[in-house]
C-alpha cells in the first residue's frame, strides 16, 4: 500500500501544504468503462471504410548496401494494390527538424522508415506492400527481390569506436556537442560531449578512498504490449489522415509532413487509444509508408507490426559501456567523480548520451568532476526514448561505485547519500543548479519505512538501495473547455493518454473551478480539434496540460464573472470567483447554476488555456530492495520492494503509485533479465516475448510506493512529473542487494541467472 509523506514545505516558511477538494482523491478514470469492456479503440481496432492491409519487407542483414530492389513480382500478384520503397519518399537533404523534444536529421528518419542506400540493422524496413488482406500483403512482400552487398556488422559499442570498425553512415562525422566542430572523416562516433567542474586532479588527490570500475549494459526495449500500427488515408483532395496510437499526434503530423514534403495543413493525425509507449511511440515507423501506399492505391491502408518487428526494428534504448571513478574523504564526502560513457545509438545517431552525461552524478553534490560521453552507431535498431532515457544506465554504474565506497568507509549507504545528496542550490556537473527538490526527503522516507526497519532473516538474502533523478519537461500544451447547458464541462486536450492522464487533467480543471471530477468530460482529440500540444512524454502531461487546463478554468472564471456582473447589473469589480462560486455584493451562485443561467441569456461559454511553462522541477526517487539469491542457479528473487519518490503534489495518488510501480518493474526487468541477444551476424535471437522476457506477475511481490510531496514551486498545484524517474534506481539497488546477499559484484546488465552464477562460481574457486 502507498503512504503519502507530507514533508515540511518550503524551509522556514511555516506553511502547511494546501488541502484540495478534488486533487488528491481517487475518482474512477473517465475512460474506464470503455477500457474494461473492450470498447476502447486502440490502433489496430480502427477500421476505415475500404481499408486495405500493408506489410513491410525487412532486411535479413545487419549491415549491407542495397544494390537493387525489384518489386515486379509483388506488383503482379492478384490482390496487391500498391508497393512502396524509399524511391517514393522525397530526399530530405541536410534538413534537421525540430520536434519539440529534440531535433532529428530527416534523412536518417526517412531512411529508417524505408532504407535508401544501406540497411543498418536486421529488420530495417526496405519496402512496403498494400493488398486486399494481410496474408496476401505478406506473401507479396516476400516476392520482392532485393540484392544486397553484405557488409561486416559491428555490434559492440567499443568495437564501433575503433578506427578499423566498418562505418555505418558515410555522412556522419564526430560532432563536438558544445562547439559544433565536426571531425573530418566518416566515423561511427557521432557526438562527443564533455562536462567539467572544478579541479579533478586536486579532487582525487584529496580523496581517502577511490573506486574505479567499468560497466556494460545491454540493449533493452520499452516492451509496450501493443505493437506499432498506423492507418493512413491519402484522400482524393490531397488531405492525409493518419490514425495511430502515438505519444505525440502533433509530432507525428510534423514528421509525416516533413518526410512526405507536404504542407502541415494537409495532414491530420487522429489518436487511437495507445497500448503503452514509454518513449517508444514518438518516432514514426509506419505512417509515411502507409500514406504513400494509400496515395498509390487510392484506399486507406493499415500497417501493423508484429512483435518480432517491434523488437528488431523499433527503437530500443542503448546498450552502453561506462567507466566511473569516484573519490571520497575519510568522512564520506565525495571529493571527485569522473565518468566516461559510450552509448549505442543504433543504426543512426541520436542516443540519449547528453541526458546520460547530465544524470550520471545528478544525485550528488560533486565539487570536482568530469564527464565525457560518446554517441556511437552500431548495427542495431535506431534507439529511441525509453523512460528517463540515458539515466538508468548511468545510475547503475554510479550507484554501484557508491555502494563499494560505502563498504570501504564502513558507512550505511542511506547515510552516505544523505550526506552527499543534491538539494536546492546544488550545482550539477553540467553547471545548472537545482530548484527545490526532494531527494533528501525520499531518503528520509526510506529510512523511516517499515521495510527499512525490518531485518532480513535468511541466508543468501540481501538489501540494497539506489537513487535516481530525471529532469522532467514542460513544453507546450493547449486545452479547450466548453461548458454545457447543465453546467458540466467538456474538456478537449491533445495529450494522448498512456496512463490515466486525462483524469488528472480533468481533476486540476475541476479543482480550479470548484467542480467535481465527474462533472468534467475529458477527451483526447485530433490535431485539428485542439491547439498544439507537445508529446505525452518527459513526464510532462500532468504538469503542462494540467496547467493549460488550469488556465482554461481561470479563463472561464473571468468570463463567468464578467457575464454575471452584467446579468446582475453590478460593477464587475464587485464580483469575484471563490471556491466554486460567483460571488457578488449580495449573491453567491455556484458554477453550475450560473452556467445554466448564462446559457439561456447569452453566448456559449467556451474557455481556453495554454501552457508553455518550463519549471518542472525535476524528480528524485530512492528504492529499497530485498532479494534472495539462489546460489545454485544465480536466480534473484525479489522479496520486498519499497520505492519513495518526490511527486510534488499527487493529483490522483492511485495513478501516481501506478507510475512508480510500473517504472520500478521495468527497471527490475532491465536489471535482472532483459537484453537483446545478438549472434555474430547481427541477428537478434530472442525477438519474441518468450525469450525477451519481461517481468511477469509471478516474478514480483507487491511494490510499496511512498509518495513524498515536496511541492514544485513552479506549478500552480505543485505538480512534479512522476512518470520517468522510477525506472532509474532499480538496477542499481538490485546490484547492491545482490552483493549484500552473496558477496559478488555485478558490473554488467542484466544480472541474469547465468551471469550471477558465473560470478558466484568465480568467487568460490
Amino acid at each position: 500500500m502507498a503512504t503519502i509523506d507530507e514533508t515540511k514545505a518550503v524551509e522556514g516558511s511555516g506553511d502547511t501544504p494546501p488541502k484540495y477538494k478534488v486533487i488528491g482523491t481517487r475518482p474512477i478514470r473517465h475512460d474506464g468503462a470503455d477500457k474494461v469492456t473492450g470498447r476502447a479503440l486502440y490502433g489496430a481496432d480502427i477500421k476505415v471504410k475500404g481499408m486495405i492491409y500493408g506489410a513491410v519487407l525487412r532486411s535479413p542483414h545487419a549491415h549491407a548496401n542495397i544494390i537493387s530492389i525489384d518489386t515486379s513480382k509483388a506488383e503482379a500478384l492478384p490482390g496487391v494494390r500498391a508497393v512502396a520503397t524509399s524511391a517514393d519518399l522525397p530526399e530530405p537533404g541536410d534538413k534537421i527538424a525540430e520536434l519539440g523534444e529534440g531535433s532529428v536529421v530527416l534523412n536518417h528518419l526517412s531512411s529508417n522508415n524505408l532504407a535508401r542506400t544501406k540497411v543498418l540493422y536486421k529488420g530495417h524496413a526496405v519496402a512496403a506492400v498494400a493488398a486486399d488482406n494481410l496474408h496476401l500483403a505478406q506473401e507479396a512482400a516476400n516476392l520482392i527481390e532485393v540484392k544486397y552487398e553484405v557488409l561486416p556488422p559491428v555490434m559492440d559499442v567499443l568495437k564501433a569506436m575503433e578506427d578499423s570498425a566498418p562505418v555505418l553512415n558515410p555522412d556522419v562525422r564526430t560532432e563536438e556537442a558544445s562547439t559544433g566542430e565536426k571531425g573530418d572523416k566518416p566515423t561511427n562516433i557521432a557526438k562527443h560531449i564533455v562536462f567539467e567542474k572544478g579541479d579533478l586532479e586536486k579532487g582525487f588527490a584529496e580523496a581517502e578512498h577511490i573506486v574505479e570500475r567499468e560497466f556494460r549494459t545491454s540493449t533493452v526495449h520499452q516492451g509496450y504490449i501493443e505493437p506499432h500500427v498506423a492507418t493512413a488515408l491519402w484522400n482524393n483532395d490531397g488531405q492525409i489522415t493518419i490514425w495511430t496510437p502515438t505519444q505525440g499526434t502533433f509530432s507525428v503530423r510534423q514528421q509525416v509532413a516533413e518526410l512526405l514534403f507536404v504542407p502541415l495543413a494537409r495532414v491530420k493525425v487522429v489518436p487511437a487509444e495507445i497500448g503503452g509507449g514509454f518513449g517508444g511511440k514518438i518516432s514514426v515507423y509506419l505512417a509515411p509508408a502507409a500514406a504513400v501506399l494509400s496515395r498509390k492505391s487510392g484506399a486507406p491502408v493499415q500497417i501493423v507490426m508484429d512483435r518480432t518487428d517491434v523488437l528488431q526494428a523499433t527503437g530500443p534504448t542503448p546498450g552502453s559501456a561506462i567507466k566511473i571513478k569516484m573519490g571520497v574523504d575519510a568522512e564520506g564526502r565525495i571529493t571527485a567523480a569522473e565518468a566516461w560513457m559510450a552509448y549505442e545509438a543504433g543504426g543512426y545517431p541520436g542516443s540519449p548520451i547528453g541526458a546520460g552525461a547530465m544524470c550520471v552524478f545528478s544525485c550528488y553534490d560533486i565539487p570536482n568532476g568530469r564527464v565525457e560521453g560518446y554517441d556511437v552507431c552500431v548495427n542495431k535498431p535506431r534507439t529511441n526514448a525509453y523512460r528517463a532515457p540515458g539515466a538508468t544506465n548511468a545510475a547503475f554504474a554510479t550507484e554501484t561505485v557508491v555502494d563499494e565506497l560505502c563498504e570501504k568507509l564502513g558507512m550505511a549507504p542511506v547515510d552516505f547519500r544523505l550526506l552527499n545528496a543534491s538539494k536546492e542550490g546544488t550545482r550539477r556537473i553540467d553547471g545548472v543548479t537545482y530548484p527545490r527538490v526532494g531527494l533528501i526527503e525520499t531518503l528520509e522516507a526510506i529510512k523511516a519505512s517499515d521495510h527499512f526497519k525490518t531485518p532480513l532473516t535468511g541466508k543468501n538474502q540481501g538489501r540494497g538501495i539506489g537513487s535516481g533523478f530525471w529532469f522532467n519537461a514542460g513544453l507546450k500544451s493547449a486545452v479547450t473547455a466548453t461548458v454545457n447547458t447543465d453546467g458540466s464541462v467538456s474538456l478537449l486536450e491533445g495529450s494522448t493518454d498512456i496512463g490515466g492522464s486525462r483524469t488528472a487533467i480533468a481533476m486540476q480543471f475541476a479543482e480550479t473551478l470548484g467542480l467535481a471530477a465527474e462533472d468534467i468530460k475529458p477527451y483526447v482529440v485530433d490535431t485539428d480539434s485542439v491547439g498544439y500540444t507537445d508529446v505525452t512524454g518527459g513526464s510532462r502531461v500532468t504538469y503542462a496540460t494540467g496547467w493549460a487546463a488550469y488556465e482554461a478554468a481561470k479563463d472561464l472564471q473571468r468570463q463567468v464573472v464578467a457575464r454575471a456582473a452584467e446579468l446582475w447589473d453590478v460593477d464587475p469589480a464587485l464580483v469575484s470567483y471563490e471556491d466554486g462560486h460567483v460571488v457578488g455584493p449580495d449573491k453567491s451562485v455556484c458554477f453550475k447554476e450560473i452556467a445554466m443561467e448564462l446559457s439561456t441569456t447569452g453566448e456559449p461559454l467556451v474557455g481556453s488555456g495554454v501552457s508553455n511553462h518550463n519549471e518542472p522541477g525535476g524528480a528524485f526517487g530512492t528504492h529499497l530492495i530485498d532479494v534472495d539469491v539462489d546460489p545454485d542457479t544465480g536466480k534473484v528473487d525479489i522479496l520486498r520492494y519499497t520505492a519513495a519518490q518526490d511527486c510534488g503534489t499527487a493529483i490522483h495518488p492511485a495513478y501516481v503509485e501506478g507510475q512508480i510501480q510500473g517504472g520500478a518493474v521495468q527497471g527490475i526487468g532491465w536489471g535482472l533479465n532483459e537484453e537483446y541477444w545478438y549472434d555474430e551476424e547481427g541477428s537478434m535471437r530472442n525477438a519474441n516475448f518468450l525469450d525477451y522476457r519481461i517481468p511477469t506477475c509471478y516474478d514480483l511481490p507487491m511494490i510499496d510506493a511512498i509518495i513524498v510531496e515536496v511541492p514544485n514551486p513552479g506549478h500552480p498545484y505543485g505538480v512534479r512529473g512522476v512518470g520517468e524517474v522510477p525506472i532509474v534506481p532499480p538496477p542499481a539497488a538490485l546490484e547492491a542487494a545482490i552483493y549484500d546477499a552473496v558477496g559478488v559484484r555485478m558490473y554488467e546488465l542484466p544480472m541474469s541467472p547465468p551471469r550471477v552464477l558465473h560470478e558466484l562460481l568465480k568467487k568460490e574457486s
Binding site: 545548472v432 530525471w470 519549471e615 518542472p616
Partner: protein, 87 residues
Amino acid sequence: MPRLFIPPLLRPNCEGKEEVVVEGATVLEAVQSLDQQYSGVMDHLCPEGKLRAGMSVTVDQNVTPRGLAQKVAPESEIHFLPAIGGG
C-alpha cells in the same frame, strides 16, 4: 550582470574560465557580449546568432523554449546544454 557558463571545450578560448560575467537583456545579447570579450566564441556557441540543433538554453534552472530570445535578469545564469528528450 548575467553570468554565462562556458562549456568545458570553450574554456581555453575564455582564459580557462568556467563562467563569465556578460551584459545583455537577452541570451543572444549575452552571447554577443561574451564574443566581444573573447572574439570568435559566438561562432562556436551559436553560429550566425542561431541556436544549434540539438542544443538548448537553460536560464537559471530551467530550459527555455525561447532559446536565444529568452530575456535574462541581472542575476541570471545562462547555460548551453544538450537538448534532453524524455520518454
